[in-house]
Amino acid sequence: MKRRSFLLGAAGLATASVSGLAGCGGSSSGSGGSAGGDVTLQMVESLTNPARSQVLKKLLADFEAANPGIKVQLVSPPTEQADQKIQQMLQAGNGVDVLEVRDLTVGPFANNGWLYDMTDDVQKWAGFSDLTAQAQKYAKHSDGKIYFVPYGFYGLSLFYRKDLVTEAGFSGPPKTWDELLEQAAKIQDPSRNRYGYAFRGGKNGNGNVVAAIEAYVGDSIDRENAFKIKSGQSIFAAPEAQAAVDTYFDLFKRASPPSSVAWGYPEMVEGFNNGSTAFLLQDPEVIATVSASKSITTDQWTTAPLLTGPSGKAAQPVATAGWGVAKASKNAAAAVKLVEFLSGDASTTFAKENSLVPIKKTAGKDAFYTTGPWASYVTMTENPDTYLTVVQPRGVSWWTEWSTKSDTQVQQVLIGKLSTTDLLKSWDAYWTEKWKG
């Protein structure tokens, strides 16, 4: 009997941890405050990586040198847990003054009343007019207030192998999704461990499917809500959507590694980096990674602008993140000062070091951005009628739910458990219902 009680107790304690995992709310570290007249700001980053944190620390040291009396303490949680950690700190109402706000988190954070409204401060700041139109636009939330200033932009471009494209008999990189399918299928040769396209079937695989659909509905897309066409329907219900998804999934069938059903970001980048795949649709931070590749040399690859659809247009689903201030901060004035500093000249250093599209107007003329793999971004910027900048509804509270659901369904299509028609029906029904509230 004693043994049984002990075992039951052990089982109970072990299983209690399961609910504890879900139930652990958050406490938080102490808040930044004043010490001896000095202000200490607590700054928390989200998309942490060691190299980036070093760049940030150098910029913060410059800020401290220029602003005696203000110290900044940088907190760098691991990326996977960072947003949850930030949420816990914001919920607790202390421990954070300046934070990294992403387009994915600004909606929920603002909705919960956790972010300081910087609108008045930013309007008084002369540096705001030096930012690109895109940066100014994305700084404004849907309610017209400014909760963060972007530090840079992520945007898709097509990484491609110049040598393999030439070898396959093509004069240049593909410009459309159809051309991509044609070139990738011709390059594909599994017997030589060579594949056409680094397909994203795993986490966030839905993003490229949506990019293809948006290109196909380029003529009718609602640029302020890129999941809608101008008639108010979802893009998934548009007549062009079927051809888009069929072409896109043909890329998997005819031109991609079979195991790419499970490929996420690391596998895609590795596939291009080690020379086994010819095309990769990715954000600019990959430029730095591929530049350091030991398998392919810099003259073997470059980037091309985003692929267009039959409309002759491509929709660039811009993703961004930036710096914001916690509403509960007791040092809001100093925190805003730091945000303004990081959004000035420091932003160009930060963008260059982290392979981001910069926010300063002057940075676009920098040789760093006008040559090599970055040139395609300049091309896209110079042709705004072809490469439409669109806003995806990434700030809605159900975005993560959508991402999980749509990723699962993309894999269902890839393993033959769902048709592309049913995929589109399901996505259309999901968004239509959500918009109805």
Binding site: R3, L7, A16, V18, S19, L21, P190, S259, V261, S397
Partner: protein, 320 residues
């Protein structure tokens, strides 16, 4: 560990009745003062368990009955059993339970058999036994999530070492997309978990084996028992309690062990390798702590039920 030096608690006595307390042993009378004294000693441990185990458990439990989305904390009404109904109406819930059963059985049976074999080998004295033991026990020191990521690359269809080795051995002619096919993906995560969990069984069983008295083995040898008979009729019955306890604990742990799956497949392809706890992580990532907590409570219920049946079955067997 004390278990190294003597028979584990609850082991069958060598001589029937040898566990009986000496007759006429004196017990100190229970007084209020003595009770308060005992309580004072117990309090730190009780407070620790209450604060770090039962408080989060209760917090999690109350979320299960509310709409609790981290992205909308201004709106957290009580919703009764709605979260449970949502889960039970979702076909994925039943698929995930089935995957959990495959994951637990598929992992624990090979872990037990291989772990037992390793423990038997490591029990013998030979040169560098300590080094071998350290090598065998090493995986237990590595994080499950890291192991998931390592095996994800090992099982990668194009760049993975598994395909490379199989091809060099002439066992396959073309690459196998291990993590792209639902059945192969489940097989792959189970292989990773077997590799990881063998160590625990080896440690526990080795400790139990070392508690088997040499006299008992010598007596068996004198009676003419061969190695197989010694194993099945002397050693295993002697360590039976440790074995059963270890299996029970492992079942609970493996059921609650999403790290390898999370790192290796993320529950894919198309949720075909999700177990209950890895599926729960997706809800926490979505900020839906209401559903995640409801799922957590269901897991507690399932495991308590299972443990009760397991122990009842053992008691029945003992009674027979």
């Amino acid at each position: 560990m004390a278990v190294l030096d003597r028979a584990p608690r609850g082991s069958r006595p060598l001589v029937r009745g040898s566990h009986a307390p000496p007759s006429g042993s004196r017990r100190r009378p229970f007084t209020v003062r003595r009770g308060l004294g005992l309580l004072a000693f117990l309090t730190p441990a009780l407070v620790f368990v209450l604060v770090f185990t039962y408080y989060p458990l209760l917090r999690g439990s109350q979320m299960a009955f509310r709409q609790w989305n981290l992205f909308d904390l201004r709106n957290t009404p009580w919703v009764g059993l709605a979260n449970f109904r949502t889960l039970l109406a979702n076909p994925t819930f039943y698929a995930v339970l089935e995957h959990s059963a495959v994951w637990v059985v598929g992992s624990i049976v090979p872990q037990l058999l291989i772990g037992f074999g390793l423990a038997l080998l490591l029990r013998r004295r030979f040169r560098f036994r300590g080094v071998y033991q350290a090598l065998v026990f090493f995986p237990w020191a590595v994080s499950g999530f890291l192991i998931g990521i390592l095996f994800r690359w090992m099982f990668n269809g194009e760049f993975g070492v598994v395909n490379d080795l199989l091809m060099r051995a002439g066992l396959i002619e073309t690459n196998v997309a291990w993590l792209a096919d639902p059945r192969l993906a489940m097989f792959s995560v189970v292989v990773a978990n077997v590799w990881y969990g063998v160590t625990f069984f080896a440690i526990m069983i080795l400790a139990a084996l070392q508690s088997v008295p040499d006299e008992l083995l010598e007596a068996g040898a004198l009676d003419g028992a061969g190695k197989v008979r010694t194993l099945f009729f002397i050693v295993i019955p002697f360590i039976r309690t440790t074995l059963l306890l270890t299996v029970l604990l492992r079942i609970i742990w493996v059921f609650n062990f999403p790290e390898i799956i999370y790192g290796m497949t993320g529950g894919g392809p198309a949720e075909q390798t999700h177990i209950v706890t890895s599926w729960m992580i997706t809800y926490t990532q979505q900020g839906d702590y209401g559903l995640a907590s409801a799922l957590g409570l269901i897991v507690v219920g399932v495991l308590v039920l299972f443990t009760s049946f397991y122990l009842l079955a053992l008691r029945e067997r003992d009674a027979r």
